[in-house]
């Protein structure tokens, strides 16, 4: 007689430990997931403490009047009412919008042209040199760059006007007239940030599938047609990423207008973030500053959502 020995399936241990340590595919998946969360934990904690926490506190603060010296006073939505009736807010947002529009267009076109030029004409070994060279300004502090640039843009003794003068261009009041001051600030800002967008485009161009480009060549697509119908659509995810980061960064522009022209002449280069700074630390109205910051957050969020909506129709994902 043959005896069949039946082995019972390992009993699931009681409690969470048993649930986790269960010797099955599900248990293994749970352990993997847990490990994933453990790895994520430092980052999540960092975000919670250093980003989400301050954002929540700032939102709360926007409902109070607080001058640092006295205890905060609850004001409900008064700060937001003031936001909509403060004429300087409109000026700040208008200046910021002008700077962002100008900066993003110049930055995107210039970075793309440079990336394309380096990709097509420079030997691979030299590309690293160009990438490092264009990225270098990004590693320098914006304040330092702004101080040096203020010297260079000086209308009387600056080198920019000196060289422009050599080719017959009359002296430009770079920092002294409202429209020129805004352009100067944008040029310095773009010069500082260009390397980042350049690297994004360089990476994107380097990863374009060769077989498609070769097929385009075989089909006779060259020059503008190849760029317009092949390269740009395939690069569109990189363009979207570069545009989103450029706009978000541009909406927060502060260092260059603050250091170079202190928001002047008058209010010509006073940006939203400068208004936040001045409200908080010059006028000591921390609640109102938090309300402006909250509204800027809403604007950035809206702009980003719109960008992603538009991108659904324009961005080509392989």
């Amino acid at each position: 007689m043959t005896t069949v020995r039946v082995t019972a399936a390992p009993a699931r241990q009681a409690g969470p430990r048993g649930w986790l340590m269960e010797d099955s595919l599900a248990g293994m998946a749970r352990r993997r997931a847990l490990l994933g969360y453990v790895f994520l934990l430092p980052t999540l904690l960092g975000i919670l403490i250093f980003t989400a926490g301050p954002v929540i506190v700032s939102l709360g603060l926007s409902l109070f009047e607080w001058n640092v010296f006295d205890p905060p006073v609850f004001m409900a939505l008064d700060n937001y009412q003031r936001f909509f009736s403060d004429s300087r807010i409109l000026t700040g947002f208008t200046n910021t919008a002008k700077m962002v529009s100008l900066a993003v267009v110049i930055e995107m076109i210039l970075a793309f042209a440079l990336a394309l030029g380096v990709q097509r004409t420079v030997r691979p070994a030299l590309r690293y040199f160009f990438r490092s060279a264009y990225f270098l300004p990004l590693l320098t502090s914006a304040a330092t760059i702004s101080i040096v640039m203020a010297y260079m843009f000086h209308s009387q003794f600056g080198v920019i006007n000196y060289y422009l003068g050599l080719v017959g261009v009359p002296r430009i009041p770079w920092l002294e007239q409202a429209q020129w001051a805004l352009i100067s600030v944008v040029l310095v800002y773009v010069w500082h940030r260009l390397g980042f967008t350049f690297i994004v485009f360089s990476g994107g161009l380097g990863n374009l599938p060769k077989e498609i480009l070769e097929a385009a060549d075989v089909d006779g697509a060259t020059g503008w047609r190849r760029l317009w119908y092949i390269v740009l659509p395939m690069l569109s995810p990189s363009i979207l990423f570069a545009a989103v980061t450029a706009i978000i960064s541009g909406l927060q522009i502060f260092d260059e207008p603050f250091v170079m022209v202190k928001g002047g002449p008058g209010d010509a280069t006073r940006t939203v973030v400068m208004l936040i700074y001045e409200s908080a630390f010059k006028n000591i109205e921390l609640g109102y500053a938090a309300a402006i910051a909250a509204m800027l957050f809403v604007v950035i969020l809206l702009v980003t959502v719109i960008q992603f909506r538009i991108s659904k129709a324009l961005v080509f994902y392989q």
Partner: protein, 490 residues
């Protein structure tokens, strides 16, 4: 039961003890970021005549916020060993805070206060005295000064009363002024000489200045400017405001605050310069568009339009200093601090000189002065006062003001020997401005000094860039200042 005996320490007791300790720590942390202040007499409660703390046994630490760079703080590290000879168990730490102007420095100190991380002592200039005093951030020194009257007599006998008065608010003294700066007129001597001009007399006038400015402004054959006659930095101190002062006006209506007799009687009884002084200054209604102010700004714009004056500089004045030391600028308003600055920039002691600001309707100058305040949240106020007292002494001031990076408030420090390495030749001008022009007064610096300066520089800039006419700019400035003052009334 002995908690720390292994024999009795089981897991339950350990957890109980740990939770208890954590709870106590949490409560302590929530109550304050800093250790609780000593219950000993604070300045407000210290009985006059009470004995100073015994130095040898005093323990503690002092954190001092300083307007400057790390190297400025390192330079002041030399102040600590002599203090530690008196107080060997006291740790003193300087925290440097950088900014382009005093407003930025104050902003950062206020941020520290908001974060419950305020220093014990803060270096504060005229621009912030009323802000710190008026908002209750600083401690009045009256009781300490009265208590240590004998110790303080020598200091006050050496310091001009106008500087002390500038550090008073509503009759109370908040700082012992350490240094000051008057915007006098600096000259690049080689630019002056190449224009065939002599060092001007002390009572030179606005018209003579205009003549000097025109003669020193140089253009080449292509019309490119080689040197400007005059330039200034767009800020509150030493901008175009000195012209407002010599034109007999001010940005705000001013009056002396009542009080302060206790100090004048105690220390300046026989000093004529102290006659009529009060308990600080009240800066009341704005008068930005006063006709005298308009006249002054018109003059500045006229110089600009004629190509005599360079466009105004924003920021801390480093660019202007570069132009001056490089021979591209003949004259600019600056204080004693510039002697050290120009020397450090490589200018020889005889390459520049200084004279009073030119006379217009008057020769009333403006000045800014600075000292240390004890913060109301200071952990040990008595100890902080001992450090302030030490800083006002001869030894500490000679360490602190080494290098002519500012003008010492002690007149006994002003000597040919002191200025021999750096210049200028007429160094006496710095202190004589106070002695010979007794109506000289501090820059207008009410508690609203920070936003007021933003408004002032904004419209000054608009006028100087010719985006607005001087009249329109001053009218708009007046309107904004009135709106700011309306908030004060609330």
């Amino acid at each position: 039961m002995d908690l720390f005996s292994n024999r009795h320490l089981n897991r339950r007791r350990f957890l109980q003890a740990a939770l208890g300790a954590a709870g106590v720590s949490l409560v302590a942390a929530c109550s304050s970021g800093a250790p609780a202040p000593k219950p000993a007499a604070t300045a407000g409660a210290a009985p006059a005549g009470a004995a100073a703390p015994a130095s040898g046994s005093t323990q503690g630490s002092l954190r001092i916020a300083l307007f400057g760079s790390r190297s400025d703080a390192d330079r002041r590290a030399a102040l600590i060993p002599p203090f530690n000879k008196l107080y060997p168990n006291v740790k003193v730490e300087y925290t440097p805070i950088q900014g382009t102007d005093w407003e930025e420095f104050f902003s950062k100190v206020l941020t520290m206060k908001a974060a419950n991380n305020a220093p014990d002592i803060t270096f504060v200039a005229t621009e912030g005295t009323q802000l710190f005093a008026g908002q209750g951030l600083a401690l009045p020194l009256d009781d300490y000064v009265k208590r240590d009257q004998k110790d303080m007599a020598q200091y006050f006998s050496d310091v001009h009363p106008s500087l002390v008065e500038a550090m008073m608010y509503e009759g109370s003294l908040y700082e012992l002024p350490i240094d000051f700066n008057v915007p006098n007129m600096y000259f690049n001597t080689s630019v002056l000489q190449s224009a065939g001009l002599e060092y001007p007399p002390a009572d030179w006038t606005k018209d003579t200045f205009y003549d000097y400015a025109k003669k020193t402004a140089k253009k080449d054959s292509t019309g490119q400017t080689q040197a400007f006659g005059y330039q200034w930095v767009n800020r509150l101190w030493g901008s175009w405001l000195p012209w407002v002062f010599v034109n007999g006006s001010n940005l705000l209506t001013e009056e002396r605050a009542p009080g302060g007799e206790w100090l004048w009687q105690a220390f300046y009884k026989d000093d004529k310069a102290a006659t009529g002084r009060g308990g600080g200054w009240h800066w009341n209604a704005p008068k930005a568009n006063d006709p005298a102010n308009l006249e002054a700004l018109d003059f500045m714009v006229q110089l600009l339009k004629e190509g005599v004056s360079a466009p105004v500089e924003l920021g801390g004045g480093s660019q202007l200093q570069g132009f001056f030391s490089g021979g591209k600028l003949a004259m600019t308003p600056a204080g004693g601090f510039w002697a050290g600055g120009l020397h450090a920039a490589g200018m020889a002691a005889d390459a520049f000189d200084v004279q009073f600001f030119p006379k217009w309707k008057s020769q009333r100058h403006q000045f800014g002065t600075a000292g240390y305040v004890i913060m109301k949240d200071a952990r040990d106020k008595d100890l902080a006062w001992e450090y302030l007292k030490y800083l006002s002494g001869v030894e500490a001031m000679s360490i602190e003001l080494n290098g002519n990076n500012s003008t010492p408030t002690r007149r006994s420090f002003m000597s040919a020997e002191r200025y021999a390495p750096t210049g200028p030749k007429h160094w006496q001008v710095f202190y004589d401005t106070l002695e010979k022009n007794p109506d000289t007064a501090p820059i207008p610096a009410p508690p609203e000094s920070n936003p007021m300066t933003t408004i002032f520089t904004k419209y000054s800039g608009l006028a100087m860039t010719q985006e607005m006419t001087p009249k329109a700019a001053l009218d708009a400035m007046q309107k904004d200042l009135e709106a700011l003052w309306a908030k004060r009334k609330k």
